[in-house]
């Protein structure tokens, strides 16, 4: 026997986007015949390029591999759509991977949802048995644990009432109690603690760490709540777009997760592969941005950020201006910088626009910026010519020896206005 609870080997899970099949037998037969004859599929979307749609597949998990040792409490975090729930679904064998294999030692009790299989007409007691059996316990095992379950759920009074009369909190309590008292070696939990009051959440967390520390059971826990992850887990896996981006210490993982989805800090940004909305005119395209006077993109307050923005114009254009929108790490725009009207672009010209961002009014923090080329047309309306999201990212810090004031964005706002200029002091004579 090895000391592994779970081994995940190069697992991928693919989903097809859009409607699956024609949905009806007739539709599928039609499509099949059309394909045979080499005609266009009558069920494909009108005007769509069928070759493009054939490839509309989506990898929810992309070649994921890791091991979980017995007795570990592993947190799994990631943004929505990162593949967390898909991973749990594969582990709890609700659906099978598209490729790769998963080895499991012991029974898995999965709680992807509270109260799976609860039938509203049955009483609490009957549902405990039902739920336990669905999760893989035998009747005898449930009977042995029954009193403990009811006591944990604080449901002694209501256990013989049909669960359709329960409040949602009672529902959750009972369901969690069943899952937590299972004799399964592995527990898989998907944000079940989000429901229930604080007191019960606390109790559940306590129970989960007991389960691992004292009974040596393995726990996999998915949550968006970083404080519970930090409290409960001794290892954490960060998923992003179907891949494992980090596996290890919990605090590091949480930091990576919080950074994730933000713009990367670097000195050269190419916009070649950036997607564009159709309604931008794009007679001038922004091609790349280079941050000139730094290596690590960390600036002291008051320093100037020097940028070189490469543009290409397809036709002659005048009156174009550049707008730089500065966004902080909570995705709030903290300020906007406008340029003067740029010199007229001539047809088929590539040029660099050099500009500086003055950081003297920024506060400590991580920022990123988006660039907008625009012009005001004859009717006084702003026309967006090109728009680049995540055109650059940088950190601002205040040198400690200077003006060492603490700054709380919730009170002070996102940027610091220019210091007051005290223009004079008139003293009154004390009498």
């Amino acid at each position: 026997m090895n000391d592994l609870a779970i081994r995940i080997e190069h697992v991928s899970k693919q989903y097809r986007l859009g409607a699956i099949g024609g949905g009806t037998l007739k539709g599928d037969i039609q499509s099949f015949i059309a394909r045979r004859r080499g005609e266009e599929d009558p069920n494909s979307k009108i005007g769509s390029d069928s070759a493009y749609h054939k490839n509309e597949k989506f990898l929810a998990l992309d070649d994921v591999s890791f091991d979980v040792k017995k007795g570990e409490i592993v947190g799994i975090i990631g943004h929505n759509g990162a593949g967390k729930s898909t991973l749990l679904k594969l582990l709890s064998r609700v659906t099978a991977p598209t490729s790769g294999r998963i080895g499991i030692n012991g029974r898995i009790a999965s709680m992807l949802e509270v109260g799976t299989g609860f039938h509203p007409e049955l009483t609490g007691r009957e549902n405990v048995y039902m739920n336990g059996a669905i999760l893989g316990m035998t009747k005898a095992e449930i009977s042995a644990k029954f009193d403990e379950i009811v006591k944990f759920a604080e449901m002694e009074k209501f256990i013989d009432t049909p669960v359709k009369r329960y409040s949602s909190g009672m529902y959750v309590k009972l369901a969690f109690a069943v899952a937590a008292h299972l004799d399964s070696e592995i527990m898989v939990m998907d944000e079940v603690l989000a429901v229930g009051d604080m007191k019960f959440q606390d109790k559940c967390l306590g129970k989960m760490s007991d389960v691992s520390n004292q009974e040596g059971r393995t726990v996999l826990y998915v949550s968006h709540n970083m404080s519970t992850i930090k409290r409960l887990c001794n290892r954490c896996i960060v998923l992003d777009r179907g891949k494992v981006v980090f596996d290890g210490d919990v605090n590091d993982a949480v930091n990576i997760y919080l950074q994730n989805g933000k713009v990367e800090k670097k000195t050269f940004y190419s916009f070649e592969n950036t997607e564009h909305k159709d309604y931008y005119l794009r007679q001038i395209k922004m091609l790349s941005n280079e941050v000139l006077n730094t290596k690590d993109c960390v600036f002291k307050i008051g320093e100037k950020i020097k940028c070189k923005l490469k543009c290409h114009s397809d036709c002659e254009e005048s009156g174009v201006r550049l707008r730089v929108e500065i966004i902080n790490k909570s995705d709030v725009v903290t300020g906007i910088l406008f340029s003067d009207v740029l010199p007229t672009f001539s047809k088929n010209e590539t040029l660099d626009v050099n500009f500086e961002i003055d950081t003297s009014q920024f506060m400590n923090g991580n920022y990123h910026a988006q660039f907008v080329l625009f012009k005001i047309n004859n009717y006084g309306i702003t026309e967006t010519i090109d728009f680049i999201k995540g055109a650059m990212a940088f950190d601002i810090f205040s040198p400690t020896n200077e003006d060492n004031m603490e700054w709380f964005p919730q009170y002070g706002g996102a940027s610091r206005l220019k210091d007051l200029s005290v223009t004079g002091i008139n003293k009154y004579e004390n009498r």
Binding site: E9, L90, V94, P97
Partner: protein
């Protein structure tokens, strides 16, 4: 994260290895047996929830076939004159109806397995076969109640003069016949349920198809109607036909029905073929149907 460390799953020992696809014919009876408690809890749940908050409770299990039988007796027996002479037509129709309804409701309920339980299947794993099996057993309880009612009626009419009802030794075959009906319903049901994960059309066809099937089976009339006809052999190939006929023969005697052991044997073969196709399709879709249902 892709390094060569993760290629040795075969060398390590694991209780369970989850693989992308099932084997061609993958029915894990041992695993099913491990979940027998769940099967019986499902049976209990189905049965209790069926009659909760109804005044008459399980009496409904009797009322439904009773009403059908009365209608059959009047329309097909008295008006159309399709019931064979020599037996009481009420007992005759009751016998056919309860066993046919067992088959029909098993079939309809099993064919709904994947689509009707996707909320459970989507959240937790247990052998998917648990549900069809528990459905078949649940219906067996209703059948038991109906059968008791039938026996009462049967005994009463035994003593009514004017009818010759002579039960035969074939009564001993009744358990075998029940097993066959259950397996056949299970087989057809899982074929349909496996196909409905992708094609919902079939769900519409089921109730209609079952009704058609009833008219292809000697439920509302006697199989004698086809005696000497060209299609008699084809008619008897219908696997439910010999079963219903044999049951009637067993309880009511030769004036009510025919006993044809060869055709009954063929119906067993048909049943097993359908069951195998069912398990084949079931194990094909079982693992990934959650992505398409």
């Amino acid at each position: 994260m892709s390094n060569n460390k993760y290629t040795e799953i075969d060398n390590l020992q694991f209780d369970t290895v989850v693989e992308p696809k099932n084997k061609l014919f993958d029915l894990d009876v041992k695993e099913l047996w491990k979940y027998r408690d769940l099967i019986f809890l499902f049976v209990k749940r189905n049965f209790i929830s069926q009659y909760k908050q109804t005044v008459l409770g399980p009496a409904w299990a009797v009322i439904q076939p009773l009403l059908t039988t009365v209608v059959f007796t009047i329309i097909f027996g008295n008006v159309a004159g399709l019931a064979p002479g020599g037996v009481n037509s009420f007992v005759y129709y009751l016998c056919g109806t309860i066993f046919w309804q067992y088959f029909a409701s098993c079939l309809t309920m099993v064919s709904n397995t994947f689509t009707g339980n996707s909320h459970i299947f989507g959240k937790v794993y247990f052998p998917r076969m648990v549900l069809p099996v528990s459905t078949v057993i649940t219906n067996l309880i209703s059948l038991g109640i109906q059968f008791f009612f039938f026996i009462v009626a049967w005994v009463i009419f035994m003593f009514v003069p004017g009818y010759s009802m002579s039960p035969g030794w074939q009564i001993l075959l009744l358990p075998l016949m029940l097993v066959e009906l259950a397996l056949l319903a299970l087989g057809c049901g899982i074929v349909i349920s496996a196909l409905t994960t992708k094609y919902r059309d079939l769900a519409m066809l089921v109730s209609f198809g079952v009704q058609l099937w009833m008219y292809a089976t000697p439920v509302a009339y006697a199989a004698d109607m086809f005696s000497g006809s060209k299609i008699e052999f084809i008619y008897w190939l219908n696997p439910t036909c010999p079963v219903i006929e044999t049951i009637r023969y067993a309880f009511l005697g030769s004036s009510a029905a025919q006993f044809r052991p060869v055709m009954w044997g063929i119906s067993w073969i048909t049943t097993f073929v359908i069951l195998c196709i069912g398990i084949l399709l079931f194990s094909k879709v079982e693992k990934t149907f959650m992505d398409t249902v």
